[in-house]
Structure formats: C-alpha cells, structure tokens
Amino acid sequence: MSKQKTNSQAKSGMLLILIALFIGLVGYVLFNGVSVGVYDIGNVSQNINYGLDLTGGVNVVLEAQATDDEAVTAEKIESAMLTIRQRIDTLGVSEPTITKQGDNRIRVSIPSVSDQEEALDLIGKTAQLEFVGPDGTVILTGKDVVDSKGVMQTDSSGLEKAVVTLKFSEEGTKLFADATQKYIGQAIQIKLDDEIISSPTVNVAITNGEAVIEGIGDIEEAGNLASLIRGGALPVKLVPIEVRTVGPTLGQNSLDKSIYAGMIGIALVLVFMLIFYRGLGIIADLALIIFIIIFMIILTALNVTLTLPGIAGLILTIGMAVDANVIIFERIKEEARLGKSLLTAIDNGFSRAFSTILDSNVTTLIAGFVLFFLGSGSVQGFAVTLILGILVSMFTAVVITKQLVILLVKTELFKSNSFYGI
C-alpha cells in the first residue's frame, strides 16, 4: 500500500518536473528560436505580425469627395483602391493593405517604406492627365495612354534632361495626330490635376502615337509621374483626412521599450504571486507562463497584427489571467478554513470559483467584442488581444492550473498547509 503510494507520489513528481521542463523548452524555442538541421524555427518575435506603430510605416485614411455632377459610388471606391494598389506597387513596397472604411473612405497602410512623404504624395494624387488645345478643348486624357516611362533624354541644346515618354492607344494616336495637325505653330498644354506642367509648341504633326513631357525636375520625379500616368487617374477626388507615419527607428524603439516594460510588469506579477500564495503561487506562475506561450502561439497562428495598444491589451489580460487564479486560490483558502482536507478544498475551490470567473469574464468579453466591432484602427488592435487574452486565460487558469495543483498535492512533497499559503 505504502509502496504504491510512494509510486504514485514519484510519478506525480516526475510528471510535474517533466511539465516544467517542457514549458521551459517550449518557452526557450519560442523566444530564442532553434535550428535543427534544415528546419529553422525562428523565435516568436520574428514571426509575429507587427503593426505600423512598431515597424514604422505610413497610414492614411482618404475620403472620397463628391463633386456637383459626380456622386461617390461603391464602384468608384473599388476602382480607386485598385489604382492606389498599382501605384504603391511601383514603389516596390511589401504588402500594403488597402481597405474600405465606411461608404466613402479608404485606409491605406504601407509598412517600411523609405520615403514616406513620397509615398503619401503618390497615393493621394488624382493624376488626371490632360492634353488641352489652345482653344481650351481637351484633346486626349490619361485614358488614351497605354505606356509611360521616365527617362533621361538629350534635348536640342545637348543637355540631358528628365522627361516622361508617352505612348498612346490606337485611338489616342489618331486624336493626337489630328490635333497636332490642327494646332501647328501653336502651344498645347499638358495638365496634371489642372496644373500645367508643360506647354510645348507643335512644330509638326505627330502621327507615331508618341510624345514626351518636358519640364520635369529630376529623373525620380519623372519616374513617379510616369507611374502615376500608367496607373491611371483616380475615378474620384480623394482627400487625406488622417495621416499617421512612424519612422522605422521610432517603431523599433517603441517595440523594444514596450517589451522591456512588459517584462518588468510580468516579473512583478510573478514575484507578487510567489510571495502571497507561496506553493500555489508557483503553480499560478507556471500557469501564467503557459498562458503567455499559448497566447503568443495563437497570435502567430491567427496572423494577428500586434500594435502598441495591443501590447497594452496583452498586459491587461495578464492581470486578468492572474485574477482567475486569485479568485480560485482565495476560494481554496476559504474552503480549507472551513476544515476541509486539502484535496477537497482544492476541488471545491475550483468548482465554486468557476461561475464567478465565467460571469466576470463574460462581461469583460462583451466590452471587448463591442470594441472590436464598433471600433477602428488602434482600438481594434487592443480589442483583439483583450478578447484573445480572456479566452486563453480562462482555459489556462481553470483547466491547466487545476491539473498542476492536483499534481503538486499528489507529490506530497509539501504537506504543511502553510506551504500552500493557507
């Protein structure tokens, strides 16, 4: 009998040690990453999707504005989003996100772009290209252009100048040929968004469907203009109503500092639980570490974007994860004070605390979901980690802690109630 008992004691003890080792191993892999042969498991912080506030980037909200004769329609917004995507693609930036907000807004997020102001310039321009005759008639527009490039060209005086080349469509070629025939000796204005960028004088009818725009600053500007023309004009006037940019150094700095602050917060909580709940505190701390590991894994698996407010949400849920254990442990203490045996007290503590934890967390979850569905941008980022944190913490606090506490008691290594802080 007693041998059997020692056996199960030893088993429980072994199991507990194995679990602790396993947690340690998983934690190590998560935060440091390992390479096994060809398999390279990067650390979790490399695999998380960070928000623009942590990596640096540009975030713009554009509002479509209706004019007297043109309304904003869903189709126009859709096609404007396509145009914006094409323009950003010319910057060679990885993974821009372009989403529709409400009926008439477009949110554009571009991570790690080197020249942020240039990107902003590129996104918002209507880029309506027009060739206007001396009598004010529009000869052709950007729609008639099939290709455009920014190149260096030697002009008649032998100087190298940046120009934008244009190649017209079949119809455009015809229109341009007719117009240049008609206006020989006169000036044609080339307008971009109603601003005259060049007004060359026609010397001879141009029938090959090609033209150049001169009077451009440098080759970079010429390239940008060419890509604007290639992408086509926006079907609707867009006004930036919110612009937020974060430089890459500031973003990295924010991330480092937040991780540091979060670590200190977590360490303080771990120490507090250990001092206040002793043996049970060890379990709570283990459960908290498991919570953080599971949270990180889910965050990575679901591809959730972690933002600064999201980090605040995470830290808040760490507080709440501990709360569930505090509720349970206080309940266990109460039960023990009523004279129940340790195991019974633990059993009762868990089952009685469950409804408390459920009801209190559901009310917080309600707030989280409302934030998620009615909020936008940073508020949503916060809501996601809050919701995720509450769900995971309910699982770790109730299911995992209970198994760990029972294992610890079964080892019978610690028999005095004071070890359990009772």
């Binding site: 930036p240 109503i241 507090f272 808040l316 707030a367 009615l374 809050l386």
Partner: protein, 297 residues
C-alpha cells in the same frame, strides 16, 4: 469570525466620498473642460530628430509661415527631438517643405523624420460619436447579461458604479488638463469591462450567500459578501496595477496614453466595486422592500 467591513452599514460615508469626487470631477469638466488633442480637434504633429540640442525659437522661426500659433516642445532622452504641433492639418506639400527646411538647417537624413500625425477636424466629432455608441451598446449588453445571470437590480447597481468610474477618469483628465486623444476612448471602454468584472465577483458572492441570510437582511448579506471577496478584489487590482504601472513607468508615450487612464480606472473601479455597487444594491432592495411593505399595510 473575522469582523465584516461595514459597506452597507456605513454606506452614507462611502456614498458621500463618491459624491464629493463626482462633484469635483463634473465641476472641473464644466469649468475647465477637457484638453482635446488632435484626434478630436484636428491638426498636425510632426516629430523630428535633430541629433543636436536646439533652441525652440529657431524651430519656431521655421514653422512661422504655416501656423504662427504652433507649439514647439522638446522630446527624446537627450532632448534632441522636436515636436511641432499645429492646430491646422497641414497638407502633404506643406509638411514636405517644412521638413526639408529642417533637413537643410540641421543636415538631416530622411529617417530623422520620426513621425507625422495629421488629422482633419471632421474626424473628431465622428470618433466621439462612435465611442458613445460603443459605450451605450456595451452597457446595454452587460445589463442584459447580468439580468439574465443575476437580476435586473444587480445590473442597475453595476452600471451606476460604472458611470461613477468613467466620470472620475474624465475628471482626472480635466483637473490635470491631460491631453485627450483616441487611446482614452479605448481605455474608457476597457475600464467599462474591467470595473464590471470586479463588481460581478462581489455580486456573485452575494448571489451565493443569499439563501443563508434573512429575506430582508440586505445590509448583513452585503457586508459579509464584500468582506469575503475583499482580499481577491485588492489582490487582483494590485497585480493588474503592477503590470499596467510598469507599462506606464517604462513604456513609450503611445502606451502611456493607454496605461494612465487604465490605472485611474482600476483604482476607481476597485473602490466602486467594494464600496458603492453592492451598497447601492442593498439600498435599492431595502427601498423596494419598504415600498411593498407600505403598500401592504
């Protein structure tokens, strides 16, 4: 048996403390108002790393032509960063030329432009509106849930305690004229969720203890239940404060904007769930009981 904390017994004291705090908060909101940031009133904030100490007057001179009332402040550990805030939402061209002026004067790289925030004034009102809607929706849903799991009067008492917390948080922002931006809205909604969590834990205990007490012995029921859950209320708030406090002490401004109202809200929420919510509930119940007794007699 441990002595009970006298929450319902001495409810007058606790109500008085809360009333004073709320009066001060509301008074300050009326007199001083709130110090709204660009998220609400629109404007531009540009942060530039100058890599060298500078005179604010120099920086001001460069901004003069865009907005003569622009604010210029220092930032960064060595005070080498300049934060320019204007009440005007500058256009992309204006910001570009502004930065190129700084670039010229201080010989800067493109990456020294640390951050830009431009918000048009129209957004602010919209945001405040949608936040109000979110808060009302959240409170209504919580009321429904609490009525379903407990009873309507618990829900009512909890919601009053919540409003109490939110007023005090706003009061702190008004008294100290801390700038109000969008993170405050998220923080307020979080306080909504967190503070009610605290209150529910106490109510849950009242619900459990109810059969053990006489039908009209509300004061004793409440005091016993609050006492039994007191340690949990304090420990939980304390651990959460530890975590959030660390974020506030060591974090960056964007996180501090969240952490500060959360800290105020957690303290106020703990106070209201210990001293206000259940005492209120017992008063409502006593009132109902006396009314139905009066009707009967």
């Amino acid at each position: 048996m441990k002595k009970n904390i006298q929450v319902a017994e001495k409810s007058k004291i606790w109500f008085a403390i809360s009333l004073i705090l709320i009066t001060i908060s509301v008074g300050s909101l009326f007199i001083n108002g709130l110090n709204f940031g660009i998220d609400f009133i629109g404007g531009t904030i540009v942060t530039i790393e100058l890599n060298t100490p500078f005179e604010t007057s120099d920086a001001k001179a460069l901004i003069e032509e865009y907005d003569s009332s622009a604010d210029v402040t220092y930032a960064g550990e060595a005070k080498t960063q300049v934060i320019i805030s204007t009440k005007k939402d500058l256009s992309t061209e204006e910001r570009q030329t502004l930065f190129s002026k700084f670039q010229e004067k201080y010989n800067l790289e493109d990456t020294d432009l640390l951050s830009i925030d431009t918000v048009s004034p129209s957004i602010g009102a919209e945001m405040a509106n949608s936040a109000m809607i979110a808060a009302v929706v959240a409170v209504l849903l919580m009321l429904v849930y609490i009525t379903f799991r407990f009873e309507f009067m618990f829900g009512l008492a909890a919601v009053i305690a919540l409003v109490h917390d939110l007023i005090i948080v706003l009061g702190v922002y008004s008294i100290f004229q801390i700038q109000v931006n969008s993170p405050l809205i998220a923080a307020m909604l979080t306080i909504l969720g967190y503070s009610i969590n605290d209150t529910i834990v106490v109510f849950d205990r009242i619900r459990e203890n109810r059969p053990k007490f006489g039908k009209y012995d509300y004061a004793n029921l409440v005091d016993t239940s609050v006492t039994q859950t007191l340690r949990r209320s304090i420990n939980t708030s304390f651990t959460t404060l530890l975590a959030i406090g660390a974020l506030y002490a060591f974090g960056v401004p964007a996180v501090q904007d969240f952490a500060l109202p959360l800290m105020v809200g957690i303290v106020s929420g703990t106070y209201s769930s210990i001293f206000i919510a259940s005492a209120l509930w017992s008063k409502i119940k006593e009132f109902q009981a006396s009314k139905s007794a009066a009707v009967k007699s």
